[in-house]
Amino acid sequence: MAENEAIAAAFADGPAFIPYLAVGDPDYEASKAYVEALARGGADIIELGLPFSEPIAEGSTIQNAIVRALEGGMTPDRFFEFVEELDVDVPLVCMTYYNLIYQYGRSRGGEPGPEAFVERAAEVGISGFVVPDLPAEEADPLRAACDEHGLDLVFIVAPTTEGDRLEEMMERVSGYVYVQARLGTTGAKTDVSDQTTRSLQRLAEWDVPKAVGFGISSGDQAARIVANGADGIIVGSALVDIVAAGVNSERPVDETAEKLAAKARELAAGTREGAARRNADIADADSA
């Protein structure tokens, strides 16, 4: 199985902060400024959402972002152009739904199937994929295409994922596992779930990095989750909320970008703070 070097490097120096935005929300140019702001704010990896018309795994915050992006004219080809033009030097992971990956070959006059999409993604500099409606059992064609182009395929592990299902997934995962902090869809919450701790324990025997997402909105939460053993934190809705507030109040793009960079700095600092706490705990345990 291929391992993408850029993603491996992002986890090499300690826990990673992984923000998400829907590409094209609310329009192409603003979205580019927002993604670049996340990189400035200290992102180690960025998840870029390619909007699909039926995003069944998303809560209302990200769903609305996807609607704005689609209304703004985002398409798979525009997405690839966007990634190509983006001025950031962190690895980029494409998060989208399987139908868009599957149909891309046909839209270019070929056969349906994931190969054409993955090839194009690799060409523009994507390092991996998260596909929330693709279960491990159906993932072999996409896994094979990723292997061919040296890209990672990230799976989402839910609080309810265990046993054979977990094994199936861990056999096919690369890059990192997306640990879903709680049941339900994406959306900003404030507590840290016990479900997260139990998921991290269940995954401890595998050495692939574990990044926790769903409901993380503050640096303080990020710190606690990393201190509890996460190798990364993924934040989407809390950032999309900032974009939405900017749209609703007609704030200038650079002001929203600055707010996103500030939020990213808070979350990145929380991630590092959590790592420091965990190392201190380990040091305490060693000296005891």
Partner: protein
């Protein structure tokens, strides 16, 4: 069907990971209770369909249509099932199954409101709390059905995302389920979604063709030559076909909503029809690989039909498979022909059909010359729910066999 929930390459389980345990639990319950009749589940289901639902429904000869087309036309009267449509077969089965599984809450999506009202009735009958998600636009188009759901004690939640129709309501119900899987069963309304839903809903609806097959033997002395049913998601279709699929001599026609045109408007993302079997391409939607109305890059199109119950961009994966295998013939009937069918059945047989069902009669009128011998048409539902839109849509067009309603526009 193979055991992995596939119909050829169609079907499968394309769902967020958080739903997988619920789907595996449901698959286990489907096999034990539905397929193996554990704890007498199917016996109780059949008994309740009889006592609460009023089954069996008649197979009635339509004398005047038979004469008109020089065929033996028989009507499978699902419009006489409690609630006025075939929908109760599935809703009652699933709500009862949820009880056997120890769930304490029901959720469902609804487009036209027929599945919502059937689920609300079944939930009230079996004393289960029930929440129904319905697109905001559909709520406004189908107010009487919203009243019925609320009268039966269900909570109706408007879905404002997208265009506020069925596909948004399905997405929203899946979101609720993802957060509540441990206590809640999602009663999906058609033979769509991830395995085991397409097979399970077909099995609950198969009572239609099980009865029709027996009734045909009594009344026709054998099998019919053809079975015709309308197809949106395809639950009445699969119910009417299931027990005839292995009878190669019986031709099966799935009548889709041709809307105003079978062409698509790629720019606007709109297909002015719901004919996914006739015109769709393979893709993945709402948990299954099936035939879909989608644009060239794979975004799902907004479908259209005068009948909101057929208005869906996907179709059951088993129907897609049977069409590829040439076992089921997909045909499309446009809005005007469906309206003519609506008026014709009302006038000639004294049965006001649902606009969904009216498509099947539109096909019969246009293609009766290609049929021979005996034909069973599944009357999937009655048309009381559609009176308002039938009258408005009729007024907006030239429908030659429509009654004169000018006394209303001129004021009484």
């Amino acid at each position: 069907m193979s055991t992995d929930g596939k119909f050829g390459d169609y079907g499968g389980q394309y769902v967020p990971e958080a739903l997988m345990p619920a789907i595996e639990e449901l698959d286990d319950a489907y096999q034990r209770y539905v397929l193996d009749n554990e704890d007498g589940f199917m016996d109780e289901f059949r008994q309740r369909l009889a006592d609460f639902g009023g089954r069996p429904t008649p197979l009635q000869r339509a004398d005047r249509l038979s004469e008109r087309y020089d065929l033996d036309v028989y009507l499978k009267r699902e419009d006489l099932l409690h609630g006025g449509a075939h929908k109760l077969n599935n809703a009652l089965g699933q709500v009862l199954l949820a009880k056997y599984m120890g769930k304490d809450r029901i959720i469902a999506e609804t487009g036209a409101g027929q599945h919502g009202t059937a689920t609300a009735m079944a939930a009230a009958h079996l004393d289960m709390p029930c929440t129904i998600y319905m697109g905001e636009r559909d709520i406004n188009r189908q107010r009487p059905n919203v009243f019925r759901m609320k009268l039966n004690g269900s909570d109706v939640k408007p879905v404002t995302a997208g265009r506020g129709t069925l596909k948004e309501a399905i997405s929203e119900t899946m979101r609720d389920w993802a957060a509540t899987v441990e206590s809640t069963h999602y009663v999906i309304g058609s033979v769509v979604g991830p395995h085991p839903f397409p097979a399970m809903v077909r099995d609950f609806q198969a009572v239609i063709s099980e009865e029709a097959r027996e009734q045909a033997h009594e009344k026709l002395g054998g099998l019919p030559d053809s079975v015709i049913a309308c197809a949106g998601g395809g639950s009445n279709t699969m119910g009417a076909f299931a027990n005839f699929v292995d009878d190669d001599s019986v031709d099966l026609y799935a009548v889709e909503a041709g809307g105003s045109s079978l062409a698509v408007d790629e720019e606007a993302g709109v297909a002015p029809n719901s004919a996914s079997l006739s015109t769709g391409d393979e893709g993945v939607l709402h948990g299954a690989r099936t035939k879909l109305l989608q644009d060239s890059v794979g975004q799902i199109m907004e479908s259209h039909s005068i009948s909101s119950g057929l208005d869906y961009a996907g179709v059951g994966p088993e129907l897609a498979y049977l069409v590829d295998e040439d076992r089921v013939t997909p045909v499309a009937v446009d809005d005007d022909a469906a309206l003519e069918g609506f008026h014709r059945l009302s006038q000639t047989e004294g049965i006001i059909p649902a606009l969904e069902t009216a498509h099947a009669f539109g096909y019969l009128e246009e293609h009766h010359a290609e049929l021979s011998g005996s034909v069973i048409v599944n009357v999937s539902g009655r048309g009381d729910k559609d009176l308002q839109s039938a009258i408005e849509e009729t007024e907006a067009r030239e429908i030659p066999n429509a009654p004169d309603m000018s006394m209303f526009s001129e004021g009484i």
